[in-house]
Subunit: 121 residues, 2 copies
DNA sequence: ATGTAACTTAACCATATGGTTAATGAACAA
DNA sequence: TTGTTCATTAACCATATGGTTAAGTTACAT
């Protein structure tokens, strides 16, 4: 029972950390797709694509509606909300980061001027 | 080279898909920390924490300033921008997801009522 | 000069991830 | 019935991940 919220974030961010899965979500944003249709654009076996879909499902980003032998996958974007909010919190630090980085680079510059122990192995 | 942008997203989302690393970023948002300071709150070895920091660095979310034997880590939130924009694109689908889900659940309801699946439009 | 503190690298381990092929099952078509 | 299609499970493989301890490197303190 570590943290329900945190595990949700783990699952969502992990699901998004793969180009195949992001592309699948892009396709699902247009309209629902069967597993085969979802898999078709990718140079991998149906089994591999199916595993990706399961990862998306585990993150709650995809819902599956079974009709006969075909599984129709629907996008459920709601779990992204938490991730989006998490990241949005850091928007304020982008500019601060720029300032920090400037300071940092100036410091490195200064260090580079010094002849002392700035040598690399 | 697959796609520069895509690999950046891979790295950022992967870096964020771990509670330890997210906590580290939270701490770095307050102020820069040395590696030891960053590692201190966690029940793991310094080596393990150091690996997490390297993942954050690989994603560009942390910059390191070496001063003597201590490494000061700075937050650089900028790489989050791409991820945030990616997710923001799906905000519009949250409500659509709700509608779809309703339809989906109603369909499942209907299917549950029917004795043998034979209803296609 | 010696010791200690801050980190990294190296080696190792268990489990997870991303892929494969082969076999299976269930639904549809003939 | 027979065959084909949609998708899964099973078994396997290579590599990545997240952790460990031990050993090394470099800077600082005494």
């Amino acid at each position: 029972m570590v943290n329900e919220q945190s595990e949700q974030l783990d699952a969502v961010f992990h699901a998004l950390a793969d180009p195949t899965r992001r592309a699948m979500l892009r396709n699902l944003a247009r309209e629902p797709h069967s597993v085969s249709d979802l898999a078709a654009p990718f140079a991998m076996s149906l089994v591999a694509a199916s595993k990706h879909i399961r990862v998306l499902e585990r993150a709650g980003l995809v819902r599956r509606q079974i009709t006969g032998r075909t599984h129709i996958c629907h996008l459920d974007a709601r779990p992204m909300h938490g991730g989006l909010e998490w990241m949005r919190h850091y928007e304020q630090y982008w500019h601060r980061s720029l300032d920090d980085l400037e300071t940092l680079l100036r410091a490195e510059d200064a260090a580079a001027q010094k002849p002392a122990g700035s040598d690399r192995k």
